[in-house]
Symmetry: C2
Subunit: 520 residues, 2 copies
């Protein structure tokens, strides 16, 4: 990306200067979240939480439209429950928060200590995910094939004791939803797994304006205990991949571990087939790294907590009343208009601070449209409109009468433009690679402008050997993000990728190109 | 309550037979929640969670309308944070879940144990409430009087290690919202405390149809660390009180503990004044005990997950298509109608089970209106309407054309009727008592029909002595629920209660009657 025309950007450093630090600075400048005094846990601030609420609302609607109901299960999982599925506990034992006592008592050296007499007989694990505790409930809910399918979702907090954390992308505690379903047949459970993968794909593209590639993960990247894990993978602006959501076909593994059995129509007893699927507050990190620029966050209108921010330009008391009356009327007109099936959200920033500071605050926060209204605009019955996806000095005059039709159009244009731009970026940095030298160059070549940025997504042949994966991960920190089931606009259709070829490392026959990339 | 005319009720035992067990059986029959394998933690099932979602939606709207914004803070509180406010830690140390380790490792006797090498330097407390961790954030957010007021709310799970638990009423983990605000002056913080008490009062009465008495608690019943605690208190059908929500004026106690300081307009430095206020999933227990009867739950329409349940009566294949077509059309018509500012929620129960079973299931779940539609109704262009607040055999025929106007009217009538009935019950069981013998009789007299049920709310004079409170609590298990700021319909206006008198125990001069009751 070319440097801004302005001598200085709102975010220091820029993406080109230090991408990782730029990310932290955008989170901070947009007032999305901050680190807390609790290791690896974040405070999600009002602007970040409002974004999460919008993500929740849209996903929740999609889950309910596909027949799922919300419920809530305990935060704590008895250790013995986690141990019921061998691979599962193996995957989570190393990074879990363990509750061992239920009372504090005065310690021998002053201060309070866990009371030795209030030690739990069995330690409780703060849920890292809920397959085992929800499985126990399902086991009692499901008796007959008539009780199936059971389609449940939970909005909750989970804890994974990560050593290296980064706001939104990897935190010890995070917020998510976890869907858990049980079915009478493998076919139905597989269909559910794919349906939810498609829901995530639709959500990512239509709401987040973040194009994704969907497909199964390789065996080494599966969820602990799953038979198959499917993911949606997005390309960030530094060309790394972000796993943005996963949908797992769990086979009968967890049904056997938890005892989810049912009587079939033929009166035989069988284990149910289960799935689980989730997305988390990580999506906010993905949204940021897809759209933000060197001036801060850029919010896709369909998820923005405020679509339009009105900034009254107040110059002296004599015109103040006139301007505010006009501002309130414009706000009311816009609020009675809708975009994307919802009323337009308008924030009027009446704070008594410098106009320039106000402007930059909303630029950094990524509000899609800013409207400035001063005394002369009132006299001319117009407003000044600035789009966040254009340069910060690019402003247009709109007649007041046009607003209710123009603003929804502009919002739609911003939404579409963001998706198109993200697709273009992905297409420009996705390459078919058939030669190991090219592969090495793709992932190691330095670019003078952006020394830390590698090539992007490599579509290369892989024969299915885990050794090849391990070798490439070890040598280049590159992993197979997924075996693509969807195409990549401007690069390849899905069916083009399922071609015959030879593994880029071993030379063995391969039936498909897979997506290799560095990742978060 | 008189026994039902029917030979048998859907809930066994009835309220009169065993109120406590009746409660558990209604929770179960209405499919609201169940106990989990984790001590004291519940699973909130879809019907119960949908009710919670409706409670959340309405409260959230009211919080936002009063200027509050949602945010999210860490689940864990470092022990040293809890210790910053002496009364606060004293109040919660005895019942908190403590995280001491962050990894499981293979134990010497097989199985996994907390890894001694992954012991936390400082134990973390699973939040029982978040004043201290939110206070730490506020301390960094507030610099100047311009940053105030700070008006934040959090929807979250909290954990209090209760020894005796009961679904919804008292559980180890529960869901709640906790508002936390900081203000520049005591006056503003006190106004906020009262505003939120009023929001809770409005919500309880207008949405839950549960009349409440609002007022301050006595010193012995205050939130640990608060200067003043205000509560809303409701009367359950067994005449006990339920504290349904609290709003705390925290003075500068937590500001001093957390260091929430600001520069005033006069450039002096001062501690902020803070408040906190919360309601929880306990409300669901209160709603149940206010309205449910011996046939199960009765939901106030403004919070019901489904306003109308349509039960197609399918007799043989020849009429099935005709009935279903009519059912779908009626459902669509009702869904395009609104009640209480929202579209009417219609559930069509198409399950292939016995009609009687279906009916009783929805009676037990408390759906406000059931509509039965059979082949003859289709021919007559009518439907059969049954109201949950009437006898189970009380059904009326309504013409299809009337439905879109009549159903919202019936819903409003049910909502109003539930509130009126609850007020009547409270009025019938609230007495002014001025003599200790009457007080004793009120709280200990046995009633032949309902041996466990005592008198209800006693409005008696109290001079303010803690010894009197302790004595009455010890002798009768009766506490002062609040010093009423609101009147009690049909019994007394608020100002009538602020009369001069003499303490019922000590005979000392008193300036007001307070509400004495047994409670949950």
């Amino acid at each position: 990306m070319a440097k801004n025309d302005a001598p200085k950007t709102a975010i220091t450093p820029t993406r080109a200067e230090d991408y990782a630090e730029w990310y932290q600075q955008v989170v901070r400048a947009a007032d999305l979240a901050e680190s807390s005094p609790v290791r690896g846990c974040m405070v999600i601030k009002p602007w970040g939480y409002a974004l999460w609420e919008n993500i929740q609302r849209e996903l929740d609607r999609m889950f309910k439209a596909t027949g799922h109901k919300n419920a809530y299960f305990p935060l704590f999982i008895p250790k013995s429950f986690l141990e019921k599925e061998a691979e599962h506990v193996e995957g989570f034992a190393k990074e879990c928060a363990i509750v061992t006592h239920h009372r504090l008592v005065a310690g021998p050296e002053g201060g309070l200590v866990p009371d030795p007499e209030a030690k739990l007989e069995e330690p409780l694990i703060v849920r890292p995910t809920s397959e085992t505790i929800i499985g126990a409930a399902f086991a009692s809910w499901v008796q007959s094939y008539r009780d199936l399918p059971l389609l449940i979702n939970q909005w909750a907090n989970v804890v994974r004791w990560e050593l290296r954390t980064r706001l939104f992308l990897r935190t010890t505690e995070f917020l998510w939803q976890e869907g858990h379903t049980a079915h009478a047949t493998e076919e139905e459970a597989r269909a559910e797994t794919m349906q939810m993968l498609d829901v995530y794909t639709t959500f990512a593209e239509e709401f987040m304006a973040m194009p994704v590639i969907k497909g199964p993960k390789t065996a080494s990247e599966r969820f602990p205990g799953a038979v198959d894990t499917f993911a949606i993978e997005a390309m960030m602006q530094d060309r790394k991949a972000l796993q943005a959501g996963t949908s797992h076909f769990l086979g009968q593994n967890f049904a056997k571990a938890s005892g989810i059995k049912f009587q079939t129509a033929k009166e035989t007893e069988e284990y149910a087939w289960t799935t689980s699927w989730g997305v988390s507050t990580r999506l906010i990190g993905g949204l940021l790294m897809t759209h933000a620029d060197d001036d801060g966050l850029i919010l896709p209108p369909r998820l923005a907590p405020a679509h339009v921010v009105i900034l009254p330009v107040l110059r002296g008391d004599d015109t103040k009343a006139k301007v505010m009356e006009y501002v309130d009327a414009v706000a009311a007109e816009l609020r009675s208009t809708s975009y994307g099936g919802r009323p337009i959200e308008v924030e009027v920033d009446k704070r008594d601070i410098r106009g320039g500071d106000k402007q930059w605050e909303w630029i950094k926060k990524g509000a899609p449209i800013r409207i400035e209204i001063g005394p002369r605009d009132v006299d001319g019955n117009v407003v000044m409109v600035a789009r966040r996806d254009r340069g910060t000095k690019d402003k247009a005059t709109l007649g007041r009468a046009e607003l209710v039709t123009k603003i929804p159009e502009i919002l739609a244009d911003i939404q579409n433009g963001l998706l198109a731009k993200a697709k273009q970026h992905r297409a420009a940095n996705t390459k078919r690679i058939d030669d190991m030298k090219d592969f090495e160059k793709f992932f190691t070549a330095k670019n003078e402008d952006k020394p830390e940025i590698h090539g992007g997504f490599a579509l290369a042949h892989w024969s299915g050997e885990p050794e090849v994966e391990a070798h490439l991960k070890d040598k280049f920190k590159v992993t197979i993000r997924c075996i693509p089931l969807s195409g990549i606009d401007g690069v390849a259709d899905a069916k083009d990728l399922q071609e015959e070829g030879r593994c880029i490392v071993s030379g063995k026959p391969s039936r498909q190109r897979v997506v290799f990339a560095k990742s978060y």
